[in-house]
């Protein structure tokens, strides 16, 4: 395994993270295609739920119930 990959690479280490979408049409859904850069080690991947830093998202309302504008 590649020992030079840092354990927790920052998302900014691989920019751009997605391929641009060309020839966009109406009435279609588009999801940007992931561009791979540094990956987490297997040990870190398991704790985070993914090997890919840009796909890791731990950010949601844990307490306090509903977002109420």
């Amino acid at each position: 395994m590649n020992e030079t990959i840092p354990a927790t690479p920052a998302a900014g280490d691989c920019v751009p993270l997605e391929t641009p979408i060309e020839d966009v049409k109406l009435a279609r859904a588009y999801v940007p295609v992931q561009v791979r850069c540094a990956v987490f080690t297997p040990a870190v991947s398991l704790t985070k739920g993914t090997a890919f830093p840009p796909l890791w998202n731990d950010c949601f309302l844990r307490t306090g119930g509903v977002i109420d504008d």
């Binding site: 590649n2 992931q34 080690t41 870190v44 398991l46 704790t47 993914t50 090997a51």
Partner: protein
């Protein structure tokens, strides 16, 4: 390595392999990622062979058994005895 440490290493590699695998399904031309995948699979094979030899069968088709038939041995994966807390210091 204890049984638990070996099983944790296998779980980590298995998961890394799964996530790379799903990525490769939509990125079949990524040669470097295929290299990473293959390296992980080969490393995992060695660990699984060690686990099977020391502690018992992990898959239903690819592991040999001692006598009596080891596949039915406890614990099964949903039982507490088969599980552990992920150790952060290994991470």
């Amino acid at each position: 390595m204890t049984e638990q440490e070996l099983l944790q290493k296998i779980m980590e590699l298995d998961f890394y392999i799964i996530d790379l695998h799903l990525y490769l399904n939509t990125h079949p031309e990524d040669a470097d990622a295929i290299g990473m995948y293959n390296d992980a699979v080969l490393q995992n094979r060695d660990l699984r062979a060690e686990y099977t030899q020391k502690y018992g069968m992990l898959t239903s088709n690819h592991c040999v058994s001692a006598v009596p038939w080891q596949w039915i041995d406890s614990p099964w994966p949903w039982q507490k005895a088969a599980n552990f807390e992920l150790r952060e210091e290994n991470v």
